[in-house]
């Protein structure tokens, strides 16, 4: 197929490399260096989508990031991505794209019926219409709106692509590689500054790629190429194309999204798809240029109506004619530049200029080329449905209120230029308060807020000479401050054509009797009439007008529509534009893939995975793992076809009858050392610590200052000034920070050091009636009798040549010990325990059995110490010292904490002794009471008691102390269960605690 609109020569594309691609199922050809947009235009395709609300046909409006229309669904290497701008997507072999927001096809779209219903779909339509009846919202309105709304479709598959994050520091970060960015980068680089130059497009040079200028006796484009080539050779410079700086955050942190692979058919091995750069820059030069803004006229959304700068870019960069009969509609000299380019390639444009008698070098050149120019003329309306076929034009009075006689002229595209809008997003994001510049009818950055400077067109300066001069100077001065070098740069000689003042004219009045839609925002179908309605209905703040009408929303964020919207509001409100103000510019400047933001922190990389030294043993022995905080712990060890319930029951039972071993490496461990360690622990824990002898362990509870239990665990006095503290797995990091806080800030006079030793020790809990026999065999030369190693005793012994710490502590409520060895010997220890334990029928047990054992013993854990309970609630008030002060003690005097009917932990057994009670169930007095049924408490943990072979739960229950023996109902609406239960003591098994001391 021929590319009918591709000119013979010219453009920066690689004509030696032809690429095939598919759009809406049809195959086309383009060249390497094309965008999807330029390749489609080369093939004469102007219809790419349907508009958001009215489903009107949509074409191409711009040639880059500002594009409001040409949003497509992209298919690449088996993946799909929504909301890709065809004007930004580079062509590659085999690219596939489809139109969005149309059904069944872009050519015949049923939704376009909205276009004929448009009088019923004004601003605020949804807010007003779908209010009543209320019950209709979920069933009818919302599903309907959801189906009608939105552009592309996100993939629901796992994304195979990889995304990277990178942190970088530099002296000078430059956003945009146009003349200003290049000059600034060059001057700073010559001074030895570390420079990062970012360009969002594939090609460097910005406006120099399309403008007819000379710098230092070469074309602007050649000069840019030379500078880039030299910058690339400098070790202190990083030059990045396809990289958009999209956010300016606090303390000169900017974030840039680099499209590493989107221009390739598939991502190269070991390459990411995108890379997100977090850049901390000492100084920032914003050279983001400007975006042409449209003039508003009737049917100005018809495919074929586009920005005049885009038409020029398609011609000069891609060698593509957007039409063969172009009509240029302008209020300034830029339109003439486009017309001149058309003329150079043998196409005859007609120029309509709203100005009466403009004079400038550019206009002279156009006249000399014989271009047909009509002054004081405007486009009243575009004609044609899926493509511009002609235009209704008319002369306009000097006050721009009266139109002359309407004439119709044939044309196949309308290139419109309403002057230029500086891209001030980054400056504004940095906190810079913008100011309105009358001469250009647009906002420019004001006083710098952070270390940022905005130059060139982004600062409202459209003279190349001026831009180069200020940018060379800024680059040199900013870098001089940092590097203290001062290399002189000679500013090259510039040849550019002078232009004349633009016309302060932005909207063509409606001719009498015509009711054309005149669109302000092309992506959201916001017309002049919609903003008029909003103002009529009393919306005044521009932020409210934006939200009510959706002006300036969605993926293009109003890059081409915001200023015209402000002009309209200011006109109706009879205010000047700066008094109306603009809406807030928020990051990101342009949409960023969620994948890039997430980076590599997905799936199992979303948090670190920590494994105990015995992990591989567990794996080999069929452990089923569970996430416990950042750790992976065996939940149970599967035998044959056992399920979780069967396996955990077997494991727990074996602990109660024989002996079991559990990996407790994950418990937090903190070394507390120093002459004041005892005093410190005495302040941290609720119970007394000053008299704990060396070689003894003690269970302790620590509170937050608000009296809530923070954590519990045993701490052992290893030697005079050395304590070994254990914390729960989940709270280990918080407890360490908590201790550091008090040592560094509150009691710096205490001579104590704390350090985490969690990773240094591997731990195994040996529990069960036969555990002492096993221990004796493991340590044949040690006295581990009840006298030699009593409950809460501690000793250091030799385990087959390895130093081991033995703690006689118990979480299971059985006779139990915890053996710790240095981590590297963890597996050795474990294998020895299993080997020697064989004759005692030892079995490893996982966290599920561990829970069962502690629940039926009434030992509180994380599900009771849930950040809402005090010691009393957990039946731990016996550990609260009345004599000494400690962290949080004063809070325990609060009246709610001392109330007679305070909540407290209790045991719960179902009356039928069969039905397990779901955790989280509510305890209520009357299961038939009307909602909301008063809640007396909740089930915190449930298990199947292996001692009694029936379900048993713990609960936190109001007035729990006096509720023992009461009959209540456990209700779980989630599981649709109502279970009659009896409240019993939380100490269901061995209530006197005889076993641990046996």
């Amino acid at each position: 197929m021929t590319q009918a609109f591709r000119i013979e020569n010219g453009g920066l594309i690689n004509r030696d490399k032809k690429l095939s691609f598919k759009f809406n199922g049809k195959t086309y050809f383009g060249y390497e260096g094309d965008t999807l947009a330029s390749a489609l235009l080369a093939n004469g395709v102007h219809l790419v989508g349907r508009s958001f609300k009215y489903h009107r046909p949509r074409g191409f409006f711009g040639a880059g990031v500002d594009e409001p229309y040409a949003v497509v669904q992209l298919y690449r290497n088996g993946e799909t991505e929504p909301n890709i701008k065809a004007t930004e997507q580079e062509l590659f072999e085999g690219l596939e794209a489809k139109s969005v927001n149309c059904w069944p096809s872009v050519n015949f779209d049923i939704g376009a019926i909205n276009n004929f219903l448009k009088i019923f779909l004004p601003a605020g339509f949804y807010y007003k219409t779908f209010m009543w009846p209320k019950s209709f919202w979920y069933r009818i309105y919302e599903p309907f709106i959801r189906k009608a709304a939105g552009l592309g479709v996100a993939s629901t598959k796992h994304d195979k692509e990889r995304y990277e994050h990178k942190y970088e520091y530099c002296d000078l970060l430059i956003a945009g590689s146009g003349p200003s960015g290049l000059a600034g980068a060059y001057a700073a680089a010559k001074n030895g500054a570390k420079v990062i130059l970012a360009e969002d497009k594939p090609r460097f040079g910005g406006s120099l790629l399309t403008s007819d200028v000379n710098i230092g006796n070469q074309s602007g484009k050649d000069w840019a190429e030379g500078i880039i080539a030299e910058l690339k050779t400098m070790p202190n410079v990083v030059v990045k194309n396809r990289s958009q700086i999209f956010g300016y955050y606090d303390h000169n942190m900017l974030v840039m999204s680099e499209k590493v692979s989107d221009h390739l058919p598939s991502t190269k091995k070991y390459h990411p798809n995108k890379r997100l750069w977090y850049i901390r820059a000492k100084e920032v030069l914003i050279s983001s240029g400007s975006i042409e803004r449209p003039i508003v006229f009737g049917n100005n959304d018809t495919p074929g109506v586009m920005l005049s700068s885009a038409a020029k870019e398609y011609l000069k960069v891609y060698g593509v004619l957007v039409g063969r009969k172009p009509l240029v509609f302008t209020n300034n000299d830029s339109g003439y530049e486009t017309a001149i380019e058309f003329k150079k390639y043998g196409v005859d444009p007609v120029v309509l200029d709203s100005r009466k008698k403009p004079e400038s070098e550019i206009i002279d050149e156009a006249k000399n080329l014989g271009i047909n120019i009509k002054n004081s003329y405007v486009v009243v309306a575009a004609q044609g449905y899926k493509k511009v076929k002609s235009a209704d034009i008319a002369s306009i009075s000097e006050d721009k209120k009266q139109l002359g006689k309407i004439e119709n002229i044939q044309c196949d595209c309308i290139c419109v230029s309403g002057f230029w809008t500086p891209t001030i997003h980054l400056a504004s994001q940095s906190g810079n308060k913008t100011k309105f510049k009358e001469e250009i009818d647009a906002f420019v950055p004001g006083q710098s807020k952070q270390n940022e400077i905005t130059l060139g067109a982004a600062n409202g300066v459209f003279s190349l000479e001026e831009t180069l001069k200020t940018s060379f100077k800024a680059g040199s001065e900013l870098s001089k401050k940092i590097t203290e070098n001062n290399n002189e740069i000679t500013i090259p000689n510039v040849v550019e054509k002078k232009s004349s003042q633009h016309d302060k004219f932005w909207c063509v009045p409606l001719p009498k009797g015509k009711n054309y839609k005149r669109f302000l925002d092309f992506q959201n179908d916001v017309a002049v009439s919609d903003v008029e309605i909003a103002l009529r209905e009393g919306y005044r703040s521009i932020e409210h007008v934006k939200r009510y009408t959706t002006l300036g929303m969605a993926t293009d964020q109003g890059k081409t529509s915001n200023l015209n919207g402000l002009q309209l509001v200011s006109e109706i409100e009879n205010k000047v534009v700066p008094a109306v103000g603009h809406t807030t510019f928020r990051p990101p400047y342009t949409p960023v893939s969620i994948g890039a933001i997430v980076g590599r922190e997905v799936g199992k990389h979303s948090k670190p995975t920590r494994k105990s030294p015995m992990h591989s043993w567990h794996e080999i022995n069929n452990a089923v793992f569970v996430d416990a905080g950042v750790w992976l712990r065996p939940r149970y060890y599967k035998r044959g076809n056992e399920n979780l319930f069967e396996a955990s029951k077997r494991e727990a039972k074996n602990v109660r009858t024989n002996v079991g071993v559990c990996d407790v490496t994950t418990l937090g461990k903190i070394d507390v050392k120093g002459p004041d360690a005892a005093e410190f622990l005495n302040r941290v824990y609720t119970n007394a610590w000053l008299k704990l002898p060396v070689g003894k362990a003690r269970y302790g509870v620590m509170l937050r200052e608000d009296g809530i239990v923070m954590d519990d665990g045993t701490t052992t006095r290893i030697s005079e000034n050395h304590y070994h503290m254990t914390t729960t797995t989940a709270q280990a990091a918080n407890v360490l920070s908590h201790l550091e806080y008090y040592l560094q800030l509150v009691w710096p006079e205490l001579n104590v050091n704390v350090v985490s030793t969690t990773e240094q020790w591997a731990g195994a809990a040996i529990a069960g009636p036969k555990s002492r026999d096993l221990l004796q065999k493991l340590f044949p030369n040690s006295d581990v009798s009840n006298g030699g190693l009593p409950f809460m005793g501690y000793m250091e012994e030799d385990l087959f040549g390895v130093k081991a710490r033995i703690f006689r502590i118990s979480f299971s409520g059985e006779l139990a010990y915890e053996v710790n060895v240095e981590s590297d010997y963890g597996n050795f220890m474990w294998e020895k325990i299993m080997e020697v334990g064989k004759e005692f029928n030892i079995q490893p047990y996982g966290t599920e059995a561990l829970s069962t054992l502690r629940i039926e013993m009434g030992h509180v854990a994380g599900s009771e110490l849930d950040g809402r309970t005090i010691p009393y609630d957990n039946a731990l008030e016996g550990l609260v010292s009345k004599k000494k002060d400690f962290i949080g003690k004063r809070s325990l005097q609060r009246s709610a904490f001392t109330a007679e009917d305070r909540q407290r932990v209790v045991g719960v057994v179902p009356l039928d002794k069969k039905t397990s009670i779901p955790e989280g169930s509510h305890l209520v007095k009357d299961d038939k009471a009307p909602l909301p049924n008063p809640k007396l408490g909740h089930i915190s943990a449930s298990c199947w008691s292996v001692e009694y072979d029936n379900p048993f739960s713990l609960a936190i229950l109001k007035d729990g102390k006096n509720m023992i023996g009461q009959k209540l109902f456990a209700m779980s609406p989630l599981k649709n269960k109502v279970i009659p239960v009896e409240i019993v003591s939380s100490h269901y098994v061995d209530p006197k605690g005889e076993r641990v001391r046996s």
């Binding site: 606090d250 901390r280 920070s737």
Partner: protein, 89 residues
């Protein structure tokens, strides 16, 4: 993302730190009688200041030291940072 000068380590990004609240709060001395109001003020009541604020941060992924940071709560400007035991003049 803030850029915080840790007095022990130098300039570091905010993601190495964790926030610790108002640094001017003084814990009542141990074993001292404290009124309900005083205790409430210590545990719960904080001013939500607009402007200069002296606050605690811990360099949790660095030297683990608690530091004091003088920051403007509206502009995020950081004026000075101090070691935990340093007097704030």
């Amino acid at each position: 993302m803030l850029y915080i000068n840790c007095p022990h380590c130098g300039m570091r990004s905010q993601n190495e730190f964790s926030y610790g609240g108002d640094a001017s709060v003084k814990r009542p001395e141990l074993n001292k009688e404290v009124s309900d109001q005083e205790w409430d003020n210590f545990v719960y009541n904080r001013k939500s200041l607009r402007g200069k604020h002296l606050e605690l941060w811990q360099h949790i992924s660095g030297c683990r030291q608690w530091i004091k940071v003088e920051r403007d709560t509206t502009t995020h400007e950081i004026f000075r940072t101090f070691k935990a035991d340093e007097e704030v003049a």
